[in-house]
């Protein structure tokens, strides 16, 4: 829900992060271990944005880092964790249990219906009845109603329009035409539903030579950030950094230790280039060999 016809939207990570305001509803692209815009989230933490409301399906590192970095108030993701690699998300879990972050856990399909309603430009979409789920109790905005056609009970999911969607892409042009990479998850839908879209990309070119997944006019800002998804993956260029995630989860289990992580990886590096010096690029780019 926003049109950006400009022909050059390239900017720095710092400037792009300023598009995110305190209290914004924010959607991160990717999912779980793949293509999350982590470099952008580190910048948001450095800028000390506050009270974000995250929306999305099953995520992991992005949400946990953002929560640990103190920039999140509400989490509407449908799952936050590290699956069978490292289990529970330590910062997320702790913050919710302490009441510092409010979990507005959603179902994947109801979350998507909200985004889809926004993408379609309608005030709500009717979802098949799931009133028996206590997820309904976390969402007073979901309304039971009678289908005007069949009379059956349905759930009205109101349009969910993120203030900002941030996607990490494989390649974009400076105008904003964007190629993500598989798996696409819900990125395309998020972009369509949002007021603003920030694309961080491995590479920004003058003009894309193929059709984009996301057309330029949906995109507000384009930032070149190589390895910007690290420690999550961007296939086929690099895989997720399991060792880094392991270190992260271990440290995050204790708030004091987690401060060490933030100091080393978020506040320490003076630039994204300096961050990359802390990373074993060779290991994540040779992933086909493991």
């Amino acid at each position: 829900m926003g049109v950006f016809p400009e022909s050059d939207k390239k900017m720095s990570l710092e400037d792009a992060a300023k598009l995110v305001k305190d209290g914004d509803i924010i959607a991160f692209g990717g999912a779980l271990s793949v293509r999350e815009p982590i470099a952008f989230i580190r910048e948001l933490i450095r800028q000390r944005v506050k009270d974000l409301h995250t929306v999305g399906t099953a995520h992991g590192f992005d949400i946990d880092l953002a929560v640990g970095g103190g920039i999140v108030k509400y989490v509407q993701n449908t799952y936050v964790g590290f699956e069978f690699d490292f289990g529970l998300a330590p910062n997320f879990r702790r913050a919710v249990e302490k009441g510092e972050v409010i979990s507005k856990e959603d179902g994947c399909n109801s979350l998507i219906y909200g985004l889809r309603a926004a993408a379609l430009g309608v005030p709500f979409l009717p979802h098949l009845n799931f009133e028996t789920s206590d997820i309904m109790k976390l969402h007073p905005e979901f309304k039971k109603f009678k289908c005007p056609i069949t009379g059956q009970t349905l759930i009205a999911i109101p349009a969910l329009e993120p203030d900002v969607t941030v996607l990490h892409a494989r390649i974009a042009d400076k105008k904003g035409n964007t190629i993500i990479s598989k798996p696409y998850v819900a990125d395309i839908l998020m972009a369509r539903a949002s007021k603003k879209v920030v694309v961080t990309a491995e590479k920004v070119v003058d003009r894309l030579d193929r059709e984009p997944h996301i057309p330029y006019f949906e995109v507000t800002a384009v930032v070149e950030v190589p390895y910007g998804a690290h420690p999550t993956a961007l296939y086929p260029d690099y895989t997720y950094d399991k060792d880094h995630m392991g270190e992260y989860v271990r440290l995050a289990r204790d708030p004091d230790n987690f401060q060490q992580y933030l100091d080393k990886y978020v506040f320490g590096p003076k630039s994204h280039e300096e961050y990359l010096e802390l990373i074993d690029i060779e290991k994540i780019t040779n992933w086909k060999t493991w």
């Binding site: 399906t57 799952y79 399909n109 098949l128 009845n129 798996p183 998850v185």
Partner: protein
């Protein structure tokens, strides 16, 4: 030929897929991933398999990953679909089989993946139910699995059950309050179909919709089930023993489907010491 509990569960879960079924699993699902692939390589070659929310259709991964967005799960896929499209299949009544687990599972097959405690008093925040809240009210049937049927004792000495009388929070809807309570509200889908645990297989009593013991695993007694289940399941006069895997199933499981053994990740170490013999 010797085999272990992870293999018995994987094979038992795979056999619940019929040829031609549309099958989907979500996040954090090693056993469903193994079972879905195994079914396709054995008795259900025409099943349509969606490998998690990454949307890979019928991939042929050389091994299975620990994270469901891992690229290996996309190898050989006929298509990569977006996650919203896959969810639509369920509402359309075209998703035949899904697998759900839960931190708590109650006697009617309601699942809690969200929180222990209460909404205003969260003791433990679980990762979340992902698609379950919606899909459990849509998919033709879902299979519940858990590798934590056996009760534990907490540090404070309290007994902790996974199979509880009542879940603290219904994330995914089973037979709700039992009887026809699910049906009466017009909830779509067939609800829970079977429950496969490290101890046994339950179905559901046709009328009360309470879990009904069907088979116990070869080294388990009905007494064990009652001991480790907080509620009293329906126990028929004759309780069978869960069928062994065939040698062929075990070969394919070990060598083609899951050579790195991710199926074992779900189990407490002691469970993996249980040995069975064909």
């Amino acid at each position: 030929m010797e085999y272990t509990i992870d293999e018995l569960m994987a094979v038992t879960m795979a056999r619940l897929i019929k040829d031609g079924d549309v099958v989907f699993h979500g996040v954090a699902s090693p056993l469903p991933m193994v079972a879905s692939r195994l079914a396709k390589l054995t008795h259900a070659p025409n099943s349509v398999y969606f490998a998690g929310t990454g949307g890979a259709m019928n991939p042929t991964p050389p091994f299975l990953p620990t994270m469901t967005q891992d690229a290996v799960l996309f190898e050989g896929a006929e298509a990569i679909l977006t996650v919203d499209y896959i969810f639509n299949l369920a509402a359309r009544g075209e998703m035949d089989v899904m697998y759900f687990s839960g931190g708590q599972i109650d006697k009617y097959g309601n699942l809690n993946n969200s929180l222990i405690g209460g909404i205003d008093d969260i003791k433990v925040k679980l990762p979340g139910g992902a698609g379950g809240a919606n899909l459990s009210c849509e998919v033709n049937k879902f299979i519940i699995w858990t590798t934590r049927h056996r009760k534990r004792v907490s540090s404070s000495g309290r007994e902790i059950y996974t199979l509880v009388d009542k879940v603290d929070f219904i994330t995914s809807t089973g037979f709700y309050q039992g009887g026809d309570s699910r049906e009466k509200l017009g909830i779509h889908g067939g609800g829970p179909y079977k429950v496969v645990t490290e101890l046994c297989v339950f179905g559901f009593d046709e009328k009360s919709k309470i879990m009904k013991l069907e088979t116990v695993h070869p080294d388990v007694t009905v007494e064990d089930i009652l001991e480790n289940t907080m509620f009293t399941p329906v126990v028929p006069d004759e309780v069978g023993v869960t069928s062994h895997p065939t040698e062929e199933e075990l070969e394919i499981l070990r060598n083609e489907v899951d050579p790195t053994g991710i199926r074992k990740l779900e189990f407490p170490k002691d469970e993996l010491k249980r040995k069975f013999e064909i």
